[in-house]
Amino acid sequence: MNEILRLTDVVKTFPGVRALDGVHLSVARGEVHCLLGQNGAGKSTLIKILSGAHRPDSGRMDWQGTPVAFAAPMEAMRAGIATIYQELDLVDHLSIAENVYLGHEPRRAGFVRRAEMLRRTDELLARFGHAELDPARMVHTLPAAGRQLVSIARALSHEARLIVMDEPTAVLAHDEVANLMRVVRELTALDIAVIYITHRLEEIREIGDRVTVLKDGRSTATGLPADTPARDLVTRMTGRAIDSIFPARPTTVDAPALLTVSGLTRRAEFTDVSLSVAAGEIVGITGLVGSGRSELLETIAGARRADSGAITLDGRPVRGGVPGAVRAGLVLAPEERKSQALILGEPVYRNMTLAALRRFSAAGLTRPGRERAAARALAERLQLRPPDVERPVGTLSGGNQQKVVLGRWLLGHTRLLLLDEPTRGVDAGARAELYQLIRDLAADGLGVLMVSSEVPECLGLADRVLVMRAGRIVHTGPAEGIDEEKVLELAMGGK
């Protein structure tokens, strides 16, 4: 095997945390090596060691056959290891070319050779099949997928031999994912190795050559073939077997509609949307990014104003923006938990009671004792880990943060829960728990309307599925009667 990188027994500790506790990893030239692990398993620390941001406490790192210790990210970059972070580190108001060559611009006598820089960027983009991107275009005008390509071009500009990608598909829509896969294949064709970090098991099978699994800072499996059964991988990742990710559906009951949306329209976002959700029912909406799914959900939640159409809950019209919707019991758990739902520095219990402060106060004075008691009861019901309601919510994992958001709405008199990408950034082990939780909530009589860009999630969890395309609902039907392929066909416009 033509090995380019080898890690042997790498250990890294932070005050109070043993982030890496003996990691072994071997990456071959030109392969796609997937790195799998739950949040907190040590993936981020491992990336930082590879990129030179951290130095290991002990253990050995061999790069192209010689032991190395990077003191700074610049050294790793020079050696040929480039890292593409989830939150892309681009300068918004510079052009693509300027971003690609930031810090190592081609220059003559102190002046940047602009034309040369544009030409070379063009060449780099063409190397992985994106010659259509104009190097002079400003980065802030690009969608997430385009920005990712800029980062990849930047890595190539540094003659990278290994590119580390941290959950590259987390920010992408379905069709964009296909393109990324193609780009990754182009890279491997250039004999560049890729370390590909992901939560999504199906991507491993699609793009990966081999897999290394991390759990609690240790590598529990190294260099497994990519076609290892998903069940095995999950077991190694979580340390427990998961029989079925999705909870069983209850036998259908014909409950009357709880939420009715009719003829809802918002210019340039969605048109003439009608749907209904019954108490106890989970309805899933899927569609490509840009199909208007999230906008629809936010409009139902009162966060955007509809141009026309009606929203009723229990037959009564819902009015008055978000406060009105919340009063009616129509609430949203938004897509971006950290930026849209949580106050990261505040403790768990205060995040939970935020929307129901009136219930926990008398004459404007809050009653923290009752708040804490209610939060503790919820934490138990939601199996929050750790079950400490005093912790700042920012210190919890993605799955547990999502539980806090759900908890917030369970404290109020919620009738219908709108969930936007409920499992984004949540690792596979915690997902199953969340699915069960959502199903339990529905069983308690809540209506659930959720949006997910992961089709299997929609099909697995929901009772009924709606498919959106270009702002319109193009299909409504029971989840059991449709498969992933059909859904994608509908979402992309048929063939």
């Binding site: 990129s51 970059m77 972070y85 580190d89 810090g103 941290d166 978000v322 406060p323 009063r327 990261l344």
Partner: protein, 329 residues
């Protein structure tokens, strides 16, 4: 919140250290209990007006804003309440005028920022200029005497040995602490400042709340104007000079995050007391204003550094979660 208790203990330690320095440099004064009590009363009296203004400022900053117009509002409220017309209605009329002017200007700030979508920095900067201009216009650029004995006696009358202005300051500070920590208003302030989008989606009227924060700040400025007018027995357009910076500095060294979402009233009050004590200590030792300003600047920097170190652990954790550390190229 052990974090803020630790910080307040630190500020209390600084206060004690300042008195210790006083004792070492002027033992003949600090050793005299009668003098010391009088001097503490002086420090508290000198903290009253700026302290009340700082309470409002702290709310605004925690709520994610900034109010650069506080000094100007104090001046406008002071000048307006000392115009002869207003003084004709007695002490109650003057107090009402000061509070109404303060709250009114705050309301304008709030509407501009919350509903006019102006950046708080710019809106209140404009208000700073405009309010001082209006104050100069009303006063005809003259120092206006407060002719009302009741207003003036707020500084001299003592209850249980404590000047009334200090008691008013204490009541405002206590009310501010209760408002922030124990009421839904306070909780919403933290939410609005910590994550406005989350607050909005949780059903909080973010704009309305933001507006109220500036009204509250303006109201505090109105109270501050009454106290300052009482002390100076007069008001003028240039009064309360640079109060905005003093109030921001006090809030910051008290642990309020300039980006919002976190802070305590107790800390801010400690910040005010530290600054007043430094001024007093330098006066007692006949040291120059320049030296005093350098020490104040040093304390602000030190406090912000401490703030970064304490928040370092949380930030580092979040960074580990998101892996946002960028390579250098």
């Amino acid at each position: 919140m052990s974090e803020s208790i630790r910080r307040n203990l630190g500020l209390a330690a600084i206060l004690i250290a300042l008195f210790g320095i006083g004792f070492l440099t002027k033992p003949e004064l600090y050793g005299d209990p009668g003098w010391l009590a009088g001097n503490i009363a002086t420090i508290l009296q000198q903290s009253a007006a700026i302290g009340v203004v700082t309470v409002g400022m702290t709310f605004v900053i925690i709520g994610g804003g900034i109010d650069l117009s506080v000094g100007a509002i104090v001046a406008l409220a002071g000048v307006w309440s000392t115009t002869v017309d207003t003084q004709g209605f007695g002490a109650a009329g003057m107090v009402f005028t000061a509070l109404a002017v303060g709250a009114g200007v705050g309301l304008v700030n709030g509407i501009l920022i919350a509903y006019g979508r102006l950046v708080a920095f710019i809106a209140t900067l404009a208000m700073l200029v405009a309010a001082r201009g209006l104050a100069a216009q009303i006063s005809g650029k003259q120092t206006q005497l407060s002719l009302n004995a009741t207003i003036n006696s707020l500084t001299t009358t003592k209850l249980l040995g404590i000047p009334l202005i200090v008691l008013i300051f204490a009541v405002v500070a206590a009310a501010g602490a209760v408002l922030l920590n124990r009421t839904t208003f306070g909780r919403r302030t933290i939410a609005v400042g910590g994550n406005p989008e989350a607050a909005r989606l949780a059903g909080i009227n973010v704009r309305g709340h933001t507006m109220l924060l500036y009204v509250l700040s303006g109201l505090c400025c109105g109270i501050g104007a009454v106290l300052l007018t009482s002390q100076a027995t007069s008001a003028q357009a240039a009064m309360a000079n640079l109060y905005e910076l003093d109030a921001i500095a006090a809030a910051i060294i008290g642990g309020t995050l300039l980006s919002g979402g976190r802070g305590t009233i107790t800390g801010a009050i400690f910040g005010v007391l530290v600054f007043s004590t430094i001024t007093n200590l330098f006066a007692v030792n006949n040291l120059s204003t320049e030296a005093q300003n350098m020490v104040k600047g040093g304390i602000i920097i030190a406090a912000v550094l401490v703030q970064q170190i304490k928040f370092g652990s949380l930030t580092a954790f979040l960074h580990r979660q998101k892996a946002v550390t960028a390579p250098t190229t």
